[in-house]
């Protein structure tokens, strides 16, 4: 595959595959709830807590849509001012993977350590019921923090040759 096809492939993997993971998440959550029923652990309180975790996705997706939309604009604007540009190739793609992973690590460290960011992220850890739904429990402000921490990656200034 050439560069263009690789980019399309990665795009497909990022969106389509992730969508399927969400579908499977519903299956796993269903099995977890079924397990609670069979082991007599299920209660209205636990179910409502699970439901509230799931429902955080509604405002989260809305802000994600707005914030990430603005972020794309911000990133492209910053990109225009960067005097250097790098081609997309195997090496830079590998570098992106590693730096994206490092960024996520730093971001996660910071949102647990810095109180202002913890304010946004604490929702993710605020439930006493742990199941698949908890993994999707986010606050409105999580995407804002994510946008800020990923901004330095724009400095790579990757361009399609």
């Amino acid at each position: 595959m050439n560069e263009s096809l690789w980019l399309e492939y990665i795009e497909f993997m990022s969106f389509s595959i992730y969508d399927w993971v969400l579908v499977f998440a519903f299956l796993f959550l269903g099995l977890e709830l079924l397990n609670e029923v069979f082991t007599r652990r299920f209660s209205g309180e636990r179910f409502l807590e699970t439901l509230s975790s799931m429902l955080t996705q509604v405002p989260y997706y809305f802000t994600e849509f707005v914030i990430f939309g603005g972020a794309v604009y911000l990133y492209f604007t910053v990109y225009e001012f960067i005097p250097w540009k790098q081609p997309v190739n195997g090496y830079t793609a590998l570098l992106v993977l590693m730096l994206a992973d490092l960024t996520y690590y730093i971001e996660h460290y910071a949102i647990h350590r810095i109180r202002l960011f913890w304010l946004a992220h604490s929702v993710h850890h605020s439930s006493g019921v742990y199941n698949t739904a908890t993994a999707f429990r986010f606050s409105l402000f999580d995407p804002v923090v994510s946008v800020l921490f990923h901004l330095p990656l724009v400095l790579m200034a990757l361009t399609r040759s």
């Binding site: 050439n2 399309e8 993997m13 595959i17 796993f28 099995l31 397990n35 652990r41």
Partner: protein, 199 residues
């Protein structure tokens, strides 16, 4: 503090579902990567090595209507889609560059690569490289680009375009597809646009 109880059967189903998810996602990823552009097979999906500068405008995705028959005069070969298609195409371009025909590049500096006569049984396709017909030249053949709807894909060859996932929904005709190459004064490709025949 003890771990919560687990139902054995649900635990097994959960584990199998987890494995199933990875198998499914892996299959999705692999099948996407190796999906052949019909009617060609996987090897035919290899991109063409000739590189061109990217288009300055966004790729045109609206079909255009070809009202007139376009006759392309050039040299033809049959590509075996089970073989190394890229090498065969490059070989044919080389033959074209070395032919007498290459000396009569029109002012428009446009070269057409016409893919026609798809043969599903033999898994082959004819490739004609040439110019819009101006007169009869000995030793050349004529490929006809039919009238009808064509989907232009800027910056891509026909083989690359077949691989575009967003084209899978389009009803491609697979009768005649062509590329229009524009060369510079040194006969180097400046840009290419693939045109895929639509039903």
């Amino acid at each position: 503090m003890s771990l919560p109880k687990r139902n054995g059967l649900i635990r097994v189903v959960y584990g199998l579902s987890m494995i199933g998810m990875f198998v499914f996602l892996g299959n999705e990823a692999v099948s996407y990567a190796s999906e052949p552009p019909a009617p060609a097979k996987a090897k035919a999906a290899e991109p063409v090595a000739r590189s061109v500068a990217p288009e300055t405008t966004a790729p045109n995705t609206l079909p255009i209507k070809q009202n007139k028959l376009l006759k392309v005069q050039g040299i033809s070969t049959v590509l075996n889609l089970d073989g190394d298609v890229e090498a065969q195409i490059n070989q044919h371009w080389l033959a074209f560059a070395e032919s007498k025909l290459a000396n009569s590049l029109p002012q428009s500096r446009e070269v057409y690569a016409v893919y026609s006569d798809y043969d599903n049984k033999r898994n082959s396709v004819s490739l004609t490289l040439g110019f819009a017909k101006q007169g009869s030249v000995v030793g050349t053949v004529t490929a006809t680009i039919d009238t009808g709807l064509y989907l232009p894909v800027s910056g891509k060859t026909v083989l690359e375009s077949w691989q575009k996932p967003d084209l899978s929904a389009q009803s491609l005709r697979y009768e005649t597809d062509y590329e229009r190459w524009v060369l510079d004064k040194n006969y180097q490709p400046v840009r290419v646009t693939a045109h895929l025949g639509l039903r």
